[in-house]
């Protein structure tokens, strides 16, 4: 088990004049190298909680430790330079170029020019920002580019901790999905401790190692891996927040390799048409897959075999798409729904046949024990 990087103990925040505390005695441990997503309805104190970690908001009670040190005992400016920070509107400095924006913290820390330049280039590459964007101003960038500059800037001084407050909420769904994938890929390499705030449970499921579900007033309703939250919501609030499709959402977290595949109706190219027909009838599929040296050739059905002696005489048709073992069950389900054969064919990257997934097989995974 990794060490605890951020630890909240009975953290409370009361804003002056407010009837109830925004965050009420919240305790949470965040392990080093994990992505923890704080999620909940508006008013649940998720942003307040996050901002107390870098002291943009000062807690009214309790203790917050980052890397074993009480944040209240540190100079907030020093503390913040070791914590990357990204918010929804990004807040790029409009009067600084992209390169200068990315170099913000290195500049504050007094890095020399060569080191700063090298770091800026490295980050631009990491976030797939074209080098020709570097001398431009933020106003000249697209929404998705700005988000990536924001993330690059937060990573610049290689802080062990990153705070991200709905960083992808303002971009369109397609760009958002791409940015999420990119963050997951980046995190796989960098292993930062990330605290990510969102109101979107789907985003939380995609990004999180652990999800903290907060209720109004900063009440922690459940804290656990996404799969656990979907499989076993702790209470009615969590169940309601996760939504009626939690079984479906859980599919996104299970990969094809996690479950046992069915063998499916398989024949070789030299198989007599008669045998193939019998197999269609016996398995009830109405078609068979044609495999040669474990590699998929395609599929044939009854009308195609009409008047043919052997399977290969019918010139098998290609499958529309395969699913690989690394894909999620959600993708497999998409493939099933879209296919003419009503199954997802699973193959490895070299087109070698591994088996099939049927709707029945997947629905067994959807039915979660409650």
């Amino acid at each position: 088990m990794a060490d605890t990087m951020i630890s909240l103990r009975d953290v409370t925040k009361r804003f002056p004049g407010a009837a109830r505390p925004a965050v009420d005695r919240l305790s949470l441990d965040i392990e080093e190298g994990q992505t923890v997503v704080l999620v909940g309805p508006s008013g649940c104190g998720k942003t307040t909680t996050m901002k107390m970690i870098n002291r943009l908001i000062e807690p009214s009670g309790g203790t917050i430790e980052v890397d074993g040190t009480d944040v209240m005992r540190q100079d907030p400016v020093r503390l913040r330079r070791r914590i990357g920070y990204v918010i929804q509107s990004i807040g790029l400095l409009p009067h600084r170029t992209v390169a200068q924006n990315i170099a913000t913290v290195p500049t504050l820390e007094g890095w020399d020019r060569a080191r700063t330049d090298a770091r800026v280039r490295e980050l631009a590459g990491m976030l797939q920002l074209d080098e020709e964007l570097l001398p431009r101003y933020p106003a000249e960038l697209s929404g998705g580019q700005r988000q990536r500059v924001g993330v690059a800037r937060a990573l610049a001084a290689d802080p062990p901790v990153m705070l991200m407050d709905e960083p992808f909420a303002a971009v369109d769904p397609i760009v958002r999905a791409r940015l999420q994938d990119q963050l997951v890929g980046l995190q796989r390499r960098l292993r930062k401790t990330i605290v990510f705030v969102t109101h979107d449970i789907d985003e939380a499921i995609v990004l999180a190692d652990r999800i903290a579900i907060l209720n109004i007033g900063g009440i922690l309703e459940q804290y656990g891996p996404p799969e656990e939250i979907l499989r076993a919501p702790a209470n009615a609030f969590v169940e309601d927040f996760v939504g009626p499709e939690r079984g479906l959402k859980r599919l996104a977290l299970i990969t094809v390799s996690d479950i046992e595949l069915e063998e499916g109706p398989v024949v070789g190219p030299a198989t007599p048409a008669e045998d193939a027909r019998r197999m269609m009838k016996e398995t009830g599929f109405g078609w068979v897959a044609v495999i040669e040296d474990r590699v998929i050739r395609g599929w044939v059905d009854e009308p195609m075999l009409e008047g043919k002696d052997r399977v290969e005489d019918a010139s098998p048709r290609k499958f529309g798409a395969y699913v690989t073992p690394a894909d999620s069950l959600r993708k497999a389900l998409d493939s099933i729904v879209a296919s003419r054969t009503n199954v997802a064919v699973v193959a490895d990257r070299n087109d070698r046949y591994l088996g099939i997934l049927t709707l029945e097989r997947i629905s067994r995974e959807i039915r979660v024990p409650s």
């Binding site: 913040r80 330079r81 920070y85 918010i87 807040g91 790029l92 000249e140």
Partner: protein
């Protein structure tokens, strides 16, 4: 009436015009510089302590509304003829413009930019000098532009208290100490100076804010 177009006299007194133009420019520059030195700290303070904005601009507004001749006359018995009186009066006219523009400029800095800057570890001073002031600069410079052009006009009135720059030419021409052409020369040079200052500061505004030239601002 021909005196008004006595170009011969004018062409033989270019050095006089140059001297008065020089005085006009230095009176203006000094007034705007002192005005900025007073207005900037006040604006920064008022920007952080909002309740003071009303009272501060009210005081500056009163100064601004007092007719120039009256303001100089109010000072005269205490500070006498000369540069002190001229500058006190001129500076007090710049304050309203400079304070209002600076505060409006600082107000215009997007809150998300300030929040992330703070979140990344800018301390208060760095936030002010590296984020807020640079971003407010176009509006502040616009204020400097208005203050400068206004001051160029008002400097002429200081002729009454023994200064005046180009105003001295006007008053002397009017009182027939010089041919009347001096009034015209003073007026034309004064307008030219105002137009030049306006153009230079407009160009300065653009040079100082290269980021705002392209596309829409805001991240």
């Amino acid at each position: 009436m021909n005196e008004l177009f006595d170009w011969e006299w004018a062409s033989t007194h270019l050095d006089l015009f140059a001297r008065q133009l020089g005085q006009h420019v230095s009176l203006t520059l000094l007034a705007v510089a002192i005005g900025l030195l007073i207005a900037l700290p006040i604006s920064i303070y008022v920007h952080r302590h909002r309740r003071l904005y009303g009272p501060v601009t009210a005081v500056a507004g009163v100064l601004y509304s007092i007719p120039s001749l009256a303001l100089f006359a109010l000072l005269l018995p205490f500070t006498g003829l000369g540069t002190d009186t001229a500058e006190i009066g001129l500076v007090s006219y710049t304050l309203l413009i400079l304070i209002r523009n600076t505060v409006v400029g600082l107000d215009g800095v997007p809150p998300d930019v300030k929040e992330t800057a703070r979140g990344m570890g800018y301390d208060d001073r760095q936030l002010l000098w590296r984020v807020e002031i640079p971003l407010a600069l176009p509006v502040i410079v616009a204020g400097v532009r208005l203050a400068t052009v206004t001051t160029i006009g008002l400097v002429t009135v200081t002729a009454f208290i023994g200064k005046g720059g180009l105003g001295f030419l006007m008053l002397a021409g009017f009182r027939n100490l010089f041919p009347e052409v001096a009034v015209l020369v003073g007026l034309v040079l004064s307008v030219a100076l105002a137009v030049l200052a306006e153009g230079l500061l407009l160009a300065g505004q653009r040079v100082l804010a290269p980021w705002s030239r392209k596309g829409v601002a805001g991240a």
